[in-house]
Amino acid sequence: MSDHVTSALAGAAFDGFVQLREAGACGMITLRGDFSSAVFQKAVGEVAEGAGVPKTRQITTAGDSAVAWMSPDELLIMCPHAEAPARAAALAQALSGEHALAVNVSDARAVFDLTGAGSREVLAKLCPVDFAPGAFKQGEIRRTRMAQVAAAVWMTGPDSFRVVCFRSVAAYVFGLLQASAQPGSEVGVFADT
């Protein structure tokens, strides 16, 4: 099954004043439950290679796994695409006595990577969020509006960001990022910060 998986835009790429790449298929599990439960916390750690339940609006990573805070009762667990069904099943098993729900939603979203010094600016043109270096830091995840659709953004390095949106709007979001990263459209608003 997993060897036939294609991501939303089959690896679309654009080189503007930053590099824009559609990431390949990414495993994603939506997990809802009570974050304060010890059973819940243990189950997350076991399935995410030790990445713990993140604090509000934070994202934790370990190995090939990441755990993102989506709302007070919802996490998004990311892992290699092929491993998502087994990890979702393991979560469901570990949480069978809890008021919790784990679902493999690996094909629900599109994932983009932005790399380059202008990445903050590319996003700042599209979202009502302060992306200044002192205001938005690595370890943080921000769910927000990107032009006319919902998206989530976090940093994967000092000059790189990952963007996720729903798969149905993948081409729209790619177009937004492409336009925002167009060579010659640099504003340089964060250049001195």
């Binding site: 989506m70 709302s71 007070p72 009502p128 969020v129 769910r143 927000t144 919902a150 998206a151």
Partner: protein, 109 residues
Amino acid sequence: MLILECPYCGVTGEETEFHGGGEAHIKRFGPGSSDDDFHDYLFTRENPFGVHFERWRHVSGCGKWFHAARCTKTLEVFGTYSAQTTEPPSDLRAAISDKRPGWTWREFS
């Protein structure tokens, strides 16, 4: 433009990241209620020029519903609070009284 703080994820965001859900604290009148009560439940709203209480949803963010108290005259947001309540919290009402002495909204003041 309103600037709202989501009480669930703590984001202070601008209005376009949220979606308005109409007047707050509406008491439901369902089957068995009088026609007048049901009519008011469906159609009668405050529409004030001043202090107002509304429901909002952090639609592009954490997705949660919450309440907001704001001024329709100045667009000042007095505060936001949990959806799990049937009336504006007393500390928020006191804070509004400091800024808008003598305000009233339905049975609240």
